[in-house]
Amino acid sequence: MDPINFVILASILFAIGAAAVLLRRNAIIAFMGVELMLNAANLALVAFSRMHGEIDGQIMAFFVLTVAAAEVVVGLGIIIAVFRARQTISLDEPAELKG
């Protein structure tokens, strides 16, 4: 089977991740959606790397992994800060900035 199918899989996961950001009110779940998008990109990179027969795509995936982990730390930090202030992590709740 052609590895390009993994890219198709990656695209589907990417779309699911995006949908999670659009639809879920829970900040943590929405954030997991973003993580899924990053991982989908990783899958695409690795699949392309396999198709090109070289390792660069994999290396990039390593970087993305690291960056994503760092992003999770900062993101969860912000979510906790919001939670401490408002006792909720609903994304609908903080909507004072608008217009």
Binding site: V34, L45, D56, V74, R84, P94
Partner: protein, 526 residues
């Protein structure tokens, strides 16, 4: 397998190394200096020395540049005059931003919360304030952000682009959340900025993956080569290119990827807004320039549509919504969206002249932005008992400011006129060179829209000027506003005001310097 140590041209990276190295040292300072006050002083001095030193190093690099520049590590990074120009620009914004970060009100209050972890209004917060705690981590965070932005302007590899994007984004997300007052808004702004920022960087990354898949390379030069020799992968290339560009347009704040701007600008502590508004836009513009000219130049025709539509949408939406804003920071945020549109006008058709016009435009815009927000930090509300509260950002509160503080109001008027592009200010020359770049590539309908939009935009800038100079303080409100005095913030106001005037009246030297920078070392087109 054998490993040979890679050859790295360290010398051209000196400015970058200074800034990032200083940030590491600053983290150590955080750990080892206990007293908040000493820490703050040390951090301020360290940051300023590093930023000014780095700017000096960049200038030395510029002067001693070997030929057109240096490609570091097989195309990961390119140091040429273009990137040095942007680096200097970002270092200037970084220096001014650091001054604002450190500025305090007359009562000795910083712009940042004393304790980021405390809940707003909690006893911990009060206690931390009483104990004089300070989040001096803002200085190393700002240094990392500056370093990331400098990288962002010089990288010539998609994966490095993504990493650099995160390097400067993460500290900004944190900084936005650290306001001292109106912390709910600050948190909200940070959460929105973070979530949408992560979302957009995922989009950028997916696009980069597509480009890698289609061309087999992540370096700009490799992508450009892959585009010109592509067979059967056009759709993949186009989709990838669009997603990368969208990721960058998000940072520039262009419609429809703009929605974070007003909320983050309003929620963030004003010094952060100033720094973010000036530097992020510059860095993102630089990165977009390089991506477009060095990697995606072959898609010029296909992508021009995107730039046209996004530019027009940004100019119109930014202008029209700014007209009805009553909150000052929000109004400036929408004006920044309109300016994103003006910036993109110069991208239409990718003329060579844009490479020298845009650095100037961003310099003029960034200086005026820093100045305007610095002025905002100086105008504060006062409670009935006479204690000084947060910044007065409702438009009505600025009525009669010209009489209370002619200098401050005059400087603000100057910045606003520069935003509006009135002659003898930097903004006029900036718009002039940017629009003439667009005209030179035949995009005159776009320039027509831009001219009309900037004419309409002048209305809300001038409205504020009228409010400041031609309106009296409302009856009974004489004591509701306090003009604060912070030497550091005043320095920023003075410096930016002088520069905005100088760049408007004698832009010659700077323009010709950028003229030199208008050539990319690894340009497919420019």
């Amino acid at each position: 397998m054998s490993f040979t140590t890679p050859e790295i041209a360290w010398a051209p990276l000196t400015p970058l190394l200074i800034v990032l190295g200083a940030s590491a040292v600053a983290i150590l300072v955080e750990s080892f200096v206990r007293s908040p006050e000493t820490r703050r002083r040390t951090q301020l001095v360290l940051s300023l020395v590093a930023l000014v030193g780095a700017a000096g190093a960049a200038v030395v690099q510029w002067a001693t540049l070997d030929g057109a520049g240096t490609v570091v590590l097989d195309g990961m990074l390119t140091v040429d005059r273009q990137s040095l120009a942007w680096q200097v620009l970002i270092l200037v914004f970084g220096t001014l931003g650091t001054l604002l970060f450190a500025s305090r009100t007359r009562a000795g209050e910083e712009a940042f919360t004393p304790l980021g972890a405390s809940a707003p209004g909690s006893s911990d917060e009060t206690l931390a304030r009483r104990k004089g705690l300070q989040v001096t981590e803002v200085f190393p965070l700002a240094l990392v952000a500056v370093g990331g932005m400098m990288l962002f302007t010089s990288v010539t590899d998609l994966i490095f682009l993504f990493v650099a994007l995160e390097v400067f984004s993460l500290p900004l997300y944190v900084l936005v959340a650290l306001a001292r007052r109106r912390r709910f808004l600050s948190h909200e702004g940070a959460l929105k900025y973070f979530l949408l920022g992560a979302f957009s960087s995922a989009i950028l990354l997916f696009g980069a993956a597509f480009l890698y898949g289609a061309t087999g390379s992540t370096s700009y030069a490799g992508v450009a080569a892959g585009i010109s020799s592509s067979t059967g992968t056009d759709a993949l290339i186009l989709a990838g290119a669009v997603m990368v560009v969208v990721g960058l347009l998000f940072k520039i704040g262009a419609v429809p990827f703009h929605s974070w701007t007003p909320d983050a600008y309003q929620g963030a502590p004003t010094p952060v807004t100033a720094f973010m508004g000036a530097a992020t836009k510059a860095a993102a513009t630089a990165a977009l320039l390089r991506v477009m000219y060095a990697a995606l130049y072959g898609l010029n025709w296909e992508l021009s549509w995107l730039f046209w539509v996004v530019a027009i949408a940004s100019m119109l939406l930014g202008t029209v919504v700014a007209l009805v804003q009553t909150e000052l920071k929000r109004m400036l945020a929408y004006s920044s969206i309109a300016h994103a549109g003006f910036i993109l006008v110069a991208f239409a058709g990718l003329p060579d002249t844009a490479l020298s016009a845009l650095p100037f435009y961003l310099a003029s815009y960034g200086l005026a932005t820093m100045g305007a927000f610095a002025v905002i930090t100086q105008v504060r509300e006062r409670s009935d008992e006479g204690t000084v509260l947060g910044e007065a950002t409702r438009l009505g509160q600025w009525a009669g400011l010209g009489k209370r503080s002619p200098w401050l109001a005059g400087a603000m008027a100057l910045f606003l006129l520069s935003f509006a592009g009135i002659p003898l200010t930097a903004g006029f020359v900036g718009k002039f060179v940017a629009f003439s770049a667009a005209i030179s590539s035949g995009a005159w309908p776009l320039v027509l829209v831009a001219v009309i939009a900037s004419a309409a935009a002048a209305f809300f800038y001038v409205r504020l000027i009228v409010l400041m100079f031609l309106t009296d303080v409302p009856e009974g409100q004489e004591d509701a506003i306090e003009i604060d005095y912070s030497p550091l913030a005043r320095t920023v106001v003075a410096v930016t005001a002088v520069l905005v005037l100088l760049l408007g009246i004698v832009p010659g030297p700077v323009l010709s310097a950028f003229e030199n920078a208008g050539v990319l070392l690894l340009g497919a087109g420019g």
